[in-house]
């Protein structure tokens, strides 16, 4: 679909972008914390199995966890140091998860040992194994193990690979910086991805608010690659893969289906960059680029932060206002509120945003009854009826929501809650409803 010259999808919302303060700041290396806590589950799927013991010394880049089955990836040491403990640690979900407590040696260098490289000439299966071994998960937010996505089942095929550099979430500028500073890695990664998926062409999607990135990628686009850089309208959630498919390909992923059903596949730019960076050197992920920003942050910026850095250390290092009261991992639209400062940075963390009371936009606004204004209906990119779903949720008619109103198709983008003038916590209700439906399904099965 095309409006005013630029491609986009139907519906969606326009939250304030708030990216100006960090989009011009280049990526800076972040120091090691005195204690890194590396959770062994940073992705969807099974936790990795620890391969180190308490008291063991590890090298930066050394494997500390091995995959537990196909839906799992390797973990690598973000720093050279001493394994203090292998024990439970708090996580963003509030649950305790197994983790490796790693105490970096003082003065530990940022140097990394190379492992066995996986060249572009390797077979598909070798590359997929290498990606799993490098611990690559989707850096676009969902942290889905990338090698699982790339394993195309027999009889299926992919014709288009989409590299997602949209970054529609307000405040975040990591993908923007990665596109500007790591384009070589991105294109190397793309070559690996094209090879594995067998796709004929690649489209790099960028939102119109990052013209410099689009320009840079166009210039750097290798002439032998079949593909293009497409600039999309600025609209949330343009970065969701479903919205990219409809905007760029005019195809819709079938309800409850997979991108494969429409012969497309989507990877985040940072994921592509990581693949392009790690595979030729045989390394694993030890760090990632994260935007640290928000009104409460003093030294905002885009930092390359070691995985496992505790939130408290991170915020102390950049400095935050005294009255900070809300910290989100991710941006304000989809990010999760940090329950405490004791949790640590994981591969899925694309940003840390901190707000103070005064700057908080979601103030203690009164919740009104739904006035049927239809703003949410006009916002929902999945064409659901959030107003009806919200009212059904309030009276706990979860099965009606799922059976008649497509509850399970909601991908929790939050557009509906964002626009609702009655301040009804719609997405929150939908999450609860989905959990209830899943539970009753599991109970019935």
């Amino acid at each position: 679909m095309r409006l005013l010259g630029l491609k986009t999808f139907r519906h969606g919302v326009h939250p304030p972008e708030s990216k100006d303060e960090t989009s011009g700041l280049s990526i800076r290396q972040f120091p090691f914390a005195p204690l890194l806590i590396v959770p062994l589950v940073q992705h969807m799927g099974a936790p990795s199995i620890p391969v180190v013991e308490e008291g063991q010394e590890v090298e930066r880049g050394q494997r500390i966890g091995r995959p537990d089955g196909f839906m799992s990836v390797s973990m690598h040491a973000p720093a050279s140091g001493l394994v203090r403990r292998v024990a439970l640690a708090p996580s963003i979900s509030g649950r305790m998860v197994p983790a490796v407590y790693l105490e970096p040696f003082p003065g530990s260098t940022q140097e990394i040992e190379d492992g066995t490289p996986c060249p572009l000439e390797a077979t598909k299966d070798e590359i997929i194994a290498a990606i799993q071994d490098a611990g690559v998960v989707g850096l676009g937010g969902a942290a889905f193990p990338t090698h699982v996505k790339l394993k195309i089942p027999d009889g299926k095929f992919v014709d288009t690979l989409i590299i997602n550099g949209v970054e529609c979430e307000p405040f975040l500028t990591t993908d923007h910086r990665v596109m500007l500073e790591e384009s070589r890695d991105i294109f190397t990664g793309i070559r690996y991805l094209l090879k594995v998926t067998g796709a004929e062409r690649v489209i790099v999607a960028v939102e119109a608010n990052k013209p410099d990135a689009a320009e840079h990628l166009r210039e750097a686009f290798p002439s032998d690659l079949n593909g293009s850089v497409e600039v999309l309208q600025v609209k949330y959630p343009q970065g969701a893969e479903k919205m990219l498919f409809s905007a760029l390909l005019g195809r819709e992923v079938p309800s409850r289906g997979l991108p494969l059903d429409i012969h497309a596949l989507c990877c985040n730019v940072a994921t592509a960059a990581q693949i392009g960076q790690l595979l030729p050197r045989g390394r694993g992920i030890q760090e990632r680029v994260i935007t640290v920003t928000g009104p409460a942050v003093k030294r905002k910026g885009n930092y390359r932060i070691p995985i496992g850095t505790p939130l408290r250390f991170l915020l102390e290092h950049v400095g935050v206002a005294d009255d900070v009261n809300r910290v989100f991992l991710g941006g304000p639209m989809m990010g999760a509120a940090a329950p405490s400062l004791e949790i640590s940075i994981t591969k899925g963390t694309s940003g840390v945003t901190a707000f103070t009371d005064t700057a908080a936009e979601r103030t203690h606004s009164p919740v009104y009854p739904c006035i049927r204004c239809g703003y949410c209906v006009d916002a929902c990119p999945i064409f659901l009826d959030p107003s009806m779903l919200g009212r059904l949720a309030a009276s706990e008619q979860f099965s009606t929501m799922a059976d008649e109103h497509h509850l399970m198709d909601c991908f929790e983008c939050g557009s509906c809650s964002f626009v609702c003038p009655s301040h009804i916590p719609l997405v929150q209700r939908f999450r609860g409803a989905k959990a209830a439906v899943r539970k009753s399904k599991a109970g019935a099965a």
Binding site: P369, M388, R391, L392, A394, S395
Partner: protein, 193 residues
């Protein structure tokens, strides 16, 4: 014989003097079967159908009663003939189209003892309509009944999710909506005149 045009008869029976909202006929099914749209529309279809059948029956009976000069049998004859005809039709539909029977069937026995049906028979006789006029009258009344029922069902389904105060919940609320619908239909006054 009345010289009302068929169009006037239809508009009058369906909108201006809607059987439910202006004549108060068929209030029980209107209140009882209007909570869900699905049942409401099927009920509307079934009522329209039975109205048509009974209108034809009533026309025949009236002609017969006039011929044999036995007006005092009118009521009993209407009731008996309409009830048994509906029964026959029900059996017929069951044989011929089980699918149609499943969607209309359960309502048929209920409807026979409903005052909208008998009312239609009595009114058309009082008005002295011809055969064709009777049929149009029955269709109009059925359409009006269905319209009222379906509108009501939509509103009640919508209000099911509302935080209605306890005192209003139930029949009282249904009656209030019916009253408001009735006020709304007053706008059609004078149409078709």
């Amino acid at each position: 014989m009345v010289d009302d045009s068929l169009w006037t008869i239809f508009i009058n029976a369906s909108l201006v003097n809607n059987f439910v909202l202006a004549y108060f006929l068929g209030i029980c099914p209107f209140l009882g079967v209007s909570a869900k749209l699905e049942t409401a529309s099927r009920m509307g279809g079934a009522v329209t159908f039975v109205m048509l059948v009974s209108s034809i029956c009533a026309f025949g009976i009236q002609t017969l009663l006039v011929a044999i000069d036995a007006p005092y049998l009118k009521l009993i004859a209407f009731i008996a003939v309409i009830a048994s005809t509906v029964q026959l039709v029900e059996m017929f539909i069951k044989k011929v189209s089980p699918a149609l029977f499943r969607s209309l069937g359960i309502f048929l026995p209920l409807i026979t003892t409903n005052c909208a049906i008998l009312g239609l028979a009595l009114f058309q006789t009082n008005k002295g309509y011809s055969f064709v006029q009777c049929i149009v009258y029955a269709l109009g009344a059925g359409a009006g009944f269905t319209l009222a029922l379906v509108l009501m069902a939509g509103l009640r389904e919508k209000l099911e999710l509302a935080e209605v105060p306890d005192v209003t919940r139930g029949t009282a609320m249904a009656l209030m909506i019916a009253g408001l619908l009735s006020v709304t239909f007053m706008g059609f006054g004078g149409l078709g005149g």
